[in-house]
Every structure is written in C-alpha cells, then in structure tokens.
Amino acid sequence: MKNKIFVVILTIVSIAQLYIPATIIFKSEAILKKGSKYLFKTAPIDPTDAFRGKYVQLAFEADSLIVEDWRKNNYNRIQYLNIVKDDLGYVKLTGLAEKIPSAGDYIKVKIRYIANSVAYFNYPFDRFYLEEGMAEKAEELYRKDNISGKQDSYAVVRVQSGSALIEDLWIGGKPIKESLKEK
C-alpha cells in the first residue's frame, strides 16, 4: 500500500522531469519552423575569449544602435530590438523599445552598456555548440575568416515573437560543417 503511493509520486515526478526539457524542445522547434529567417554577419571576437572547448563564441557586426534618450535604456535591462531584412536577407536594426512592439519582428536583448548615445547589447544567441575537438577547429576557421576582410560569414537565425535561435553557422560561404570537412 505504502509502495503504491510512492509509485504514484514517482510517476508524477517523472512526468514533470520529462516535461520541462520538452518545453524547451517544443518552443525551439516552433521557432525553427515558423520563425522568420535573418542573416547576422559575424564579427571578429576577442582572442583572449576564444577557446571555449565545446562551442564557438560568436560576435556580430550589428551589435549596437544609436539611442536618443539613452539615460532611459540603462544597463542590464531587457529591451526589445526591432529588426527588418534587407534585400539579401541580412538583418537591419531599426530601434530599441521598452515595450513589446506591436508590429514587425523583434528580439529580446540585454543592454550591455551605453556610451556616447550608442547602446551595445547581447543577443540571446552567441554560441554555436559543436562536439569537443571540432569546436576548436571551427573557432580557428571563424577567426581567420573574420579577420580576412571577406565578410562572408554569417549566422542563420530564426526569430519568432521575441525569441531567436541559431539555425546554422556559415563560414566562407558554406555551412560550418562542410567547411570543417574540407579542412
């Protein structure tokens, strides 16, 4: 009898344990399927920051915006970044807002700091996970390409109601996995 109660409790606990990670999966799959596609040009990263082992640390060209009333946009605050696409699919930033915009795509970003009326922020996606060993090579590729001046590296990002996920990382005009195979 006593065991029965514990079996019931374990069943409930197990369902909860399975459900919480599943919410991440459902939400992410929805973003990847239905989200609008944007290309984010990558930028060189701070070399001291480079090697992380299991992922490639990313930085993006579009990481700041001029804000008029910058005193309001204090640091560490969550803000909503309005974005549009240019003809080639690359992202263009159009403004920062305190409240959720009523129209158009937007991404929730955290303000890193503000200097001379320019707000710098962190995107919720700045890591690309690869398996150990591969990430190191990938980062080398990423760094070389980003300082070469060719500017043909970008992240494919899906955006849906404020959330954004990286779909793939392109380096030298190819998906990173292909570039790594050729290496």
Binding site: N3, F6, V7, I9, L10, V13, S14, A16, Q17, L18, I20, P21, I24, I25, S28, L32, K54, Y55, P124, F125, D126, R127, F128, Y129, L130, E131, M134, L165, I166, K177
Partner: protein
Amino acid sequence: MPLLVEKGIVSDQQSKAILEHFAQQNIKKPNTAIVAFSIIGSTLLAAGIILILAHNWSNLSRAIRICISYLPLVVSQIIGFWVIIKKRDSIAWTEGIAAFGFLSIGATLSLVSQTYHIQGDFRSFIFNWMLLGFPLVYLYRSTTAAVFYIVSLTAWAIAEKVALHGSLGYWPLIALIVPYYIMRFNNDIHSKIVTIIGWFLSISLIFGVFWAINDITEGFKVISLIALFLGFLSIGLLYFKDEESFWMVPFSRVGLLGLSVVYVVLSYRDVWKHLSFTQRPEVMNAVGLLKTGNITISILLPILSIILIYKSVKIKKWPILLYSIGLPVALIGFTLSDNDLGRVIITSGFNLYVLLCGLLYLIRGIKYNSGKSMNYGFVMIAAIVILRFFDADLTFIARGLVFIVLGISFLGANIYLAKRKARIK
C-alpha cells in the same frame, strides 16, 4: 560459531542470540563503502553513457540528439520504479538511484539546450534542475539528493544575487529540506547522515544570510548572522553531546566558530564605520525594509534564535548566555557607531568581550581538564592580543616579545594540563 558451540564455549541458545544480534546490527548500519560506491558508480555511469553516445554529436540529426539527451533520465526513471517497488529498504540502491536521477536531470537539460544552441542562463538552468531533483530527496529518502539540492540551491542564490539584487526565494526553498533533516535526526541523531546534512545545511545558511538577503544595511546583515550562529550553537547545545568529535556536531562547531570570527571582526574600529545604521538611511525606514521583504528574515532569524537560546538557558547551558550578550551589544553598537566616540566605546566593548569569552573558556578548560576548551580560550585571547598589537605601531622587538609570551604560556598550559591528566589517570 558452530565451532564455539561444539567446544562448549557458548550454548546453542547463546549462539543464536549472538548471530541475531549481529544480523540486526547489519540491518541497522548499512555498509558505508557499498553505499559510497553505489553513489560514485551511478554518477560515473550517467557521465559515461552521455560521453559515449555524444562522441559523434555534430553529425547526428536533431531527433537522435534529443533521444540521446533523454536517455539517462528515462533509464534513471525506469530503474527508479524498480527500486521503489523492490528495493526501497536498500540504502545502496536508493542512494545510488537518487544520485543518478538527480544528475541525469541536469544532463538532459543541458544537452537539450546545446542541441538548439541555447547558451542558457545559468540561473534558470540550475533552478529547473534543483526543483526537478528535489522530490527525489523524499521519494528515495536520499541524503545524496538532499546534499545536491542544498548545494545547487546555494549556487542559485549566489547567481541570483549577482544578477539581480537578492534572492529571498532561497529561504522558502531551503525550508523544504528541513523536514528531511528532522526526520533523519529523530531516526538516529548520531548517524552519519545527520552529520553530513548538518554540515551542508549550516554552511549553506551562512551563504544564505550573506547572499540571499536583498540590499539592506550591513548592520542588519551582521545582526542576522549573529542570530544565525547563536541559533546553531543552541541547537548544538540542546540536542548534541559536547563530547562528540569535531565532525559529529556541525551546528555547534559552525556556530561557535562563526560567533568567534564575527566578534573578533567587530573588535576592529574601521569595521563599524560601514556598519552604522545611519549609513544607509534609505533602507533604514520600515517601508523600505518591508518592501524588500528582508524584514521577515532579519526579524524571523533573531526571534527563532531567541527561542532556542531561552530553551538552552532553561537547561543551564551557560556558553549560550555568554555568546548571546553580543547580540544586544552589537545592536546598540550600530546605533552608536556614527561618531568616533561611539566607535571607541563599542570596539573597546567588543575587545573586552572577546577577551572575557576566551578567559572563561580557558579557566573552564583548566578546571575540567578539557584541552579543547582551554585551547579555544587561548586562541580567542591570542587573536585579540595579536590583532591589537599589530594595529598599534610597535617595534618588531615588542611584537616578537608578545608572540614569545603567548607561545610560552600556550605551551606551558598544555604541558601542565597533559601532566595533570596523566596524574588523574
């Protein structure tokens, strides 16, 4: 045993009684080594499964990656059902599966996040992890899970404090583990389990006072800390025997050590400059305190310890009275310390107070032949004397002399005590 019966050393009945006695002892006291190995083994197993399956991670499809991410968790749940139905009385099994289950939740969460390149925010990750792992404590009556929970909760509180301004959520969440401790405590107060959780719980609570209280005046924080340590000391005095070894009585050790450190720190004049209640008027007003919710902690803690102190005094545990004096003195001190004269008075007070505590312990140690008591008293006195001599601008010779005098009296007293003990024996 059959040999002993044959030779007539023990009778048949006696032999049965002896065997039964040992059999019962075996049931009561599980083999620590087996329990430890089952915990370590299951932890390694969980890590191993993930490493093997994930070695070709990047080339796997998303669906397969998710299946792999879920594998350790599902395996732990299946084994869990078996343990609950068949092996609920085996400590090795329940502790092992609880450790495995707890860790696989974290593994699944982080592998799923990696699959979607979500860098994840440490706070929500560890929060989900500890809450999903928490039921395992009571489900398997597992101390390993309890320790994991306490550690991750403490880490969460610190991360929360760094990112925002406090994490009052720590308090109700740490309260959830207390019934488990009490259950174990009522079951067998001298068990290793009670000791282990005692250490983790008491140290976590110190972090709690430091980190899980929103911005308040440092003075209030010190008051809460003193109250916490007094509470610990009372619990130790009320429920545990003093003769137990150092590791067996975490609450009194942490309490006594904590109080000694806090009181020695309060004997510094500069410290008081930052502690004055008037330093931070904006958080001093009652509305501000209520708003941040701290009032509950910084008032509840002292009230709780006063109850415990009262209980200890009733059974004549005198050390608690001696150490309790510091609480009202500190409280008065915080209101006095906004000017130089006040600070001089209050620090002199604390210097004398620590000296008095040390002296009383020293005398008690010599009187009752307790080396522990005597040496503790010595350390307290030495701490105050050395610190004050360093503050004062004295020559090296003078400082050296102080050290020599302290060293000789320390050695002399110990030799004297050892000799007297030998004589009594």
